[in-house]
């Protein structure tokens, strides 16, 4: 496994776009070549070494044997691991928006929290976040028919709103709360929320959403009875019938005000 460490040289104010921080891009390059890759600081085109210190092994290897360690605060660095197909990224702290977007393989591990649009349009691979994540985890870009189509996202904390919007496949597990409208307009996929959620599965065509805490359920969902899930008893609902949906929402308790 080739080890490459990226360390910010400063605290960023203007956000950085760094889609080149990705095992696929790094695998074929020496450390100094990596340092010469393009990144953007707001509207200024820069190179990685302007903003980051690059260190580690200087031997080329395959993508899948590439480990990129992000040491420090990357909370304002966007698009890390974009289009990633293999290999590993380990972030010791937070990550900015759009991490792991269009990812098809490999592993993205985040010790801190991740920004919005984590795993946007993801098709494969694994994302694990120890902290929280922002809005639109595993969703699509505006107007896109499908968000996440495959792969796994695991969030140990809570997420913002619109978790898994337009999701067509794959799975998302959230230990904490799932925010407003998780699984909206879903056409497949599997979402498990450990905590609470507000109006899961709005306009869902198909797919399953499990809420282990309390959920507010739409009036366009039809109650199907109690079912067992991982040792819990859950209320099962079918919907979203307003859109002829055939998805299921499962919730441990129902928020009826």
């Amino acid at each position: 496994m080739r080890y490459i460490k990226i360390l910010p040289l400063q605290t960023f104010e203007v956000p950085i776009e760094a889609e080149n921080i990705c095992p696929d891009v790094f695998a074929d390059l020496t450390l100094s070549q990596i340092g010469n890759l393009e990144v953007w600081e707001g509207n200024r085109k820069k190179i990685i070494s302007d903003l980051f210190q690059v260190s580690g092994d200087d031997v080329l290897t395959s993508t899948k044997d590439t480990l990129v360690v992000l040491d420090g605060d990357f909370s304002r660095v966007k698009r890390i691991g974009e289009n990633m197909t293999a290999g590993t990224i380990e972030a010791k702290g937070d990550l900015g928006m759009h991490a792991g977007n269009n990812m098809t393989g490999g592993s993205l591990q985040v010790e801190g929290s991740a920004g919005s649009w984590l795993g946007r349009e993801m098709r494969g691979g694994l994302i694990v976040v120890k902290g929280n994540a922002g809005d639109y985890v595993g969703s699509g870009s505006r107007g896109e028919a499908c968000g996440m189509r495959g792969g796994d996202i695991r969030i140990e904390g809570s997420t913002g709103d619109y978790l898994g919007e337009h999701m067509c496949g794959g799975s998302i597990m959230v230990n904490g709360d799932g925010g407003d409208f998780p699984g909206a307009s879903n056409r497949g996929g599997f979402i498990v929320i450990g905590g609470d959620a507000y109006l899961p599965g709005a306009e869902m065509a198909s797919g399953s959403i499990v809420v282990k805490g309390k959920a507010r359920v739409l009036p366009s969902y039809q109650y199907q009875g109690l079912v067992g899930f991982q040792g819990m008893t859950l209320n099962k609902y079918l919907g979203d019938l307003a859109d002829n949906g055939k998805g299921n929402v499962y919730a441990a308790s129902i928020d009826v005000e």
């Binding site: 870009s141 505006r142 107007g143 896109e144 028919a145």
Partner: protein, 562 residues
């Protein structure tokens, strides 16, 4: 400027592949010149600048398409350069992309196909922002209350006066008629389904509207004929309506040396069958009619596989599209007193049986109609597909092997429900030049476009193929490539594209038609209009007309028939 040694195809002047020099002075083609740049075009294919007679490139529904489709705007993105503004979009490109992409394909003029008078100001705001090419807009008349009233009363004088006024109010170039009567019915969610259906509350029929507007069009001697989107468009079996429509105007004498009716995007109106299960091509029947009659022309409306954004003033059609295809998005926009429109994004699939047949129909229409002067090449951008695919269509028309290659990837209906596989005609350069240049210019009545005779606008395309050395049938991919990014586009004598790149960004002209009418008729009309504004419109009449500020570079064509 002198363009030396090119192989010139100028079918309007009966020049078909002659090696000759072209001279340009002050933006016009001239017999001889000693001035300016010399372009070495030895052996290269030369044609007049392309003329797109029908595309949806500006106005309310085009912009609605952009607003609805951020995912489309993420396609084909080109960042800003020192010379060029940034470009976005495939089916609904931004204004700059429209101008640059036409120019790169050697096109120098394009017509926006459907503008309600009430919203023409918006159309012109966008046309002004489209760089390089000359432009014009066709004005919608087929669902207008004043038209209905004149037609019902049989008052052709007043109708002609209204058409003239409507063209002036909208700074429009010609009379567009879309599913006549259907837009009004759609005001309450209905439609018309036959030429003799009555439009509720107005007591007129589609047949009467079409005949009335055709008559008025010829009274005014407008450069273009009426430009008709037929009733029942998009429905299986509609070819019968199309043929009936063609028959309905056969007896009206054109006032100029051109057709009396142009049926647009015929592909959508040449359907057989009684429903989708027995859907089939009736292009042979349509082409046969065109081969036997000379009063009509058409454009293809060729389907292109992939993403499209359908947009039309035929709002009930769009509603049906959305319902039938369970489209995620449907937009509708009714225009008070003047009709309606709709927008639905679609995906045309090679393995869809209906789409495969639709694709074949467009090509059959072109290949089975003997005279290329009767068929303009279009994709009804972005309904059949985006205009950037014209080079693909050219290659399909010129190469039977390419068509065979394509058909092999399509749903088998392409062979069982259409006869394209049995058609071996391959268009030559002259025929392509007619279908993309000389033909549309003649059909639209553009005297200085579509040809390279002395006095013509110096709009010239130099294409990077050598017609004497290439076999288009075999090397169709080279044809497509060469037409996608031409060697040179010259607009009004200025090089705007060189080696496929835009190198200059002049502002094109906007063509509109000012048709004279006797004062008495104009005054009679004003009485009607004053009432309609006082009672029905939501704006004042004085705020209605498109002001000069929106047409900063006009080319006014005068028509003095009436």
């Amino acid at each position: 400027m002198i363009i030396k040694g090119g192989i010139v195809y100028d079918p309007a002047n009966d020049i078909l592949g002659e090696e000759m020099d072209l001279c340009i002075e002050n933006g016009k083609i001239v017999e001889d010149t000693k001035e300016g740049e010399v372009i070495d075009a030895r052996g290269l294919l030369i044609m007049p600048g392309g003329v797109d007679g029908h595309a949806h490139i500006a106005g309310a529904k085009v912009n609605n398409g952009r607003i609805m489709r951020p995912e489309d705007s993420r396609q084909y993105v080109e960042p800003r350069t020192k010379l060029l503004r940034p470009c976005t979009g495939y089916t609904v490109p931004n204004c700059y992309a429209i101008g640059y992409r036409y120019a790169r394909m050697g096109y120098t003029m394009a017509f926006e196909a459907a503008t309600p008078i009430l919203e023409a100001r918006h159309t012109h705001e966008e046309l002004e922002e489209i760089p390089i090419v000359d432009k014009g807009a066709l004005t919608l008349f087929g669902d207008n209350w004043e038209v209905f009233d004149c037609v019902r009363e049989g008052d052709m004088d007043k109708l002609a006066a209204f058409v003239s006024w409507g063209l002036r109010a909208s700074r429009g170039y010609g009379v567009k008629v879309v599913n006549p009567g259907g837009g009004e019915c759609w005001g309450y969610g209905g439609n018309v389904s036959a030429l003799d259906d009555t439009v509720p509350n107005f007591d007129v029929t589609p047949r009467e509207i079409i005949r009335g507007l055709t008559t008025a069009n010829e009274m005014l001697k407008l450069p273009h004929s009426i430009h008709l989107h037929t009733n029942n468009l998009g429905k299986p079996g509609n070819y019968a309506t199309t043929l009936e429509t063609l028959e309905a105007v056969k007896d009206i004498i054109p006032s100029r040396d051109r057709q009396v009716v142009h049926i647009t995007h015929m592909q959508f109106s040449a359907y057989g069958g009684t429903g989708w299960p027995d859907f089939k091509s009736e292009a042979p029947a349509i082409a046969d009619y065109f081969n036997k009659h000379d009063h009509a022309t058409m454009d293809m409306g060729q389907l292109i596989f992939g993403s499209a954004t359908t947009m039309t003033a035929d709002a009930p059609l769009e509603y049906n599209n959305a319902r039938l295809l369970h489209a995620a998005q449907w937009s509708n926009h009714d225009v008070e007193l003047e009709g309606s429109s709709g927008v639905v994004p679609l995906l045309y699939l090679r393995q869809s049986p209906v789409n495969a047949v639709q694709w074949a129909i467009g090509l059959e229409l072109a290949l089975l109609t003997e005279s290329p002067w009767k068929v303009v090449m279009t994709t009804d951008h972005p309904n059949g597909g985006p205009f950037v695919n014209y080079p693909e269509v050219i290659a399909l028309l010129m190469s039977a092997p390419k068509r065979d290659e394509e058909m092999a990837t399509l749903h088998p209906w392409v062979s069982s429900r259409a006869i394209l596989a049995t058609v071996d005609r391959e268009m030559d350069w002259g025929e392509v030049a007619v279908m993309t240049r000389a033909g549309p210019a003649k059909i639209l009545g553009l005297e200085n476009k579509g040809h390279l005779g002395s006095g013509a606008d110096a709009d010239v395309t130099i294409i990077g193929v050598k017609p004497h050395e290439i076999d288009p049938s075999k090397d169709h991919h080279k044809i497509k490539e060469a037409f996608s990014r031409v060697k040179y586009t010259i607009k009004d004598g200025q090089v705007v594209v060189r080696d496929g790149e835009v190198v200059a960004v002049p502002q094109g002209r906007t063509y509109w038609v000012d048709a004279s009418v006797p004062l008495k008729q104009a005054e009679r009309l004003q009485v009607d209009l004053a009432e309609k504004f006082a009672k029905y419109y939501s704006i004042q009449q004085s705020n209605y007309m498109v002001q000069d500020a929106y047409v900063t570079n006009p080319e006014v064509i005068e028509a003095e028939g009436f």
